[in-house]
Symmetry: C3
Subunit: 194 residues, 3 copies
């Protein structure tokens, strides 16, 4: 079930990168992102419902719960950013945001590898590598956001634009933070299985 | 004990609507809201203390803990918004905020129904309906906030006013998010009891 | 292990106060704060790893997990504020921030007392007093932040400065909120041991 949930996350991250590259957030974009969010939500709820009815679980009950919630948060956040860009009437391609969306997509792909790999201990070194990658991309995103914000505050003449972009970049960085949280849970599951 | 806690939440939501309708946040308002917050906090602590000393609980220990915390967060957030309005020296009636406060009041009332209903399986269909209502109101609030923000960013000449109102509407929407979280816990308790 | 973790938090809080008093955030400051954050993070991970491999624990497994996470959040937040001040190119001494940093240092010191005291029931009245102190300092910080923000919004001509300082003071208050969360966990551990 987690496979399906992370697949939605990968799709949402890919679509977000596409939207950033096109620089147009129209109703089609909003609807498709919202659909992905709803579908991801449904899978998350199914996982938790099934968990509530099951006595024996492959991993710690709490870890499963937390994992479902965090993967859900990835899609949620991407949906939030997209609808925010529409609300703020942001249009045109922002080169930095495209770059950032690329980092997000890489990180979510690594999350998918890590989550799909935990079923079998055979893949544990592969899973560990994905987790290291996710941690690395979080640091990359941190620096990117700081650079963008420093530039924004230094050159900005329009405070309203500062308010808008500051929030968008902080939200974008939050997606990478959530991916890092997933990596931590996955690493902790590996430790317990070892 | 949860009955008492949700009653404080209902009272706080009703009072918040009254304040929004009057458009005056004076010291009396601040004190009464803070008192409600303290009283709600005390009940939450009593619930958790008693939980820590009890071996057998009617529902999952974690669910009880989480429920107490979330209901507490509703009153907390209403208190935060109220004191923020005072700090920001916001006065006068904002028609949209009155509407929003109305949606919050409805949602908190539905939370009270849901929470009071979980004691007996006889009410399970009634509880489910309240949860559906809470989810619906969260979507309503989402759209309202987006509309207000879109208008605010489009027409605003004063960036300081944008900063103030953006935060107030986002916090108001957070109250509905917390109500939705309560609905999810209640639904999960229903599943486990079934 | 918690002793080491809170010692890093105390060091970070002391260093933050020093930085606020000097009014200069240079690369040395950024690096030292980031190192403290990494070291604190490593201890937190060791605690959680060891917890995952241990069957019998002195306190509730969840409480230990939560405590490690919250103490980690203190150092995280101080690191966030520091790097934010660099990004926002804030320089010069802000008297209010120095005061606030002083309250944070006091609160983190009380957190250290409380956390170090839970090992032995002999210190329980001492631990309780530290928790009361933490709660008190959170209220102090709340009022300080409200005063600063009220003044900022009233006198500010530069919206960009409002955006910067509003975030810094809100983050500073968040450190005190996290300390209060630690106090709640510690109090709940005391109740269970009694």
């Amino acid at each position: 079930m987690f496979d399906k949930q992370v697949d939605y996350a990968v799709e949402a991250a890919g679509y977000f990168k596409e939207l950033a590259s096109k620089g147009v957030i129209d109703d089609t974009a909003i609807n498709r992102m919202r659909d992905l969010e709803h579908q991801g939500d449904d899978v998350a709820h199914s996982i938790i419902d099934r968990l509530d009815k099951t006595f024996i679980t492959p991993f710690d009950r709490e870890d499963i719960h937390y994992l479902a919630k965090e993967i859900d948060d990835i899609v949620d956040m991407l949906n939030t950013i997209t609808s925010r860009m529409k609300v703020y009437k942001i249009s045109g391609v922002d080169r930095r945001l495209v770059e950032f969306a690329g980092v997000i997509e890489e990180s979510v792909r690594a999350v998918a590898c890590a989550v799909k790999g935990i079923r079998s201990m055979k893949h544990s070194s592969f899973v560990s590598r994905a987790c290291v990658e996710i941690n690395h991309l979080e640091n990359v995103g941190d620096s990117m956001r700081d650079e963008v914000l420093a530039e924004l505050f230094e050159t900005a003449k329009d405070p309203i634009a500062v308010i808008k972009w500051k929030e968008i970049y902080q939200d974008a960085e939050t997606v990478l933070d959530v991916c890092e949280d997933v990596a931590h849970v996955v690493e902790s599951i590996l430790v317990k299985q070892a």
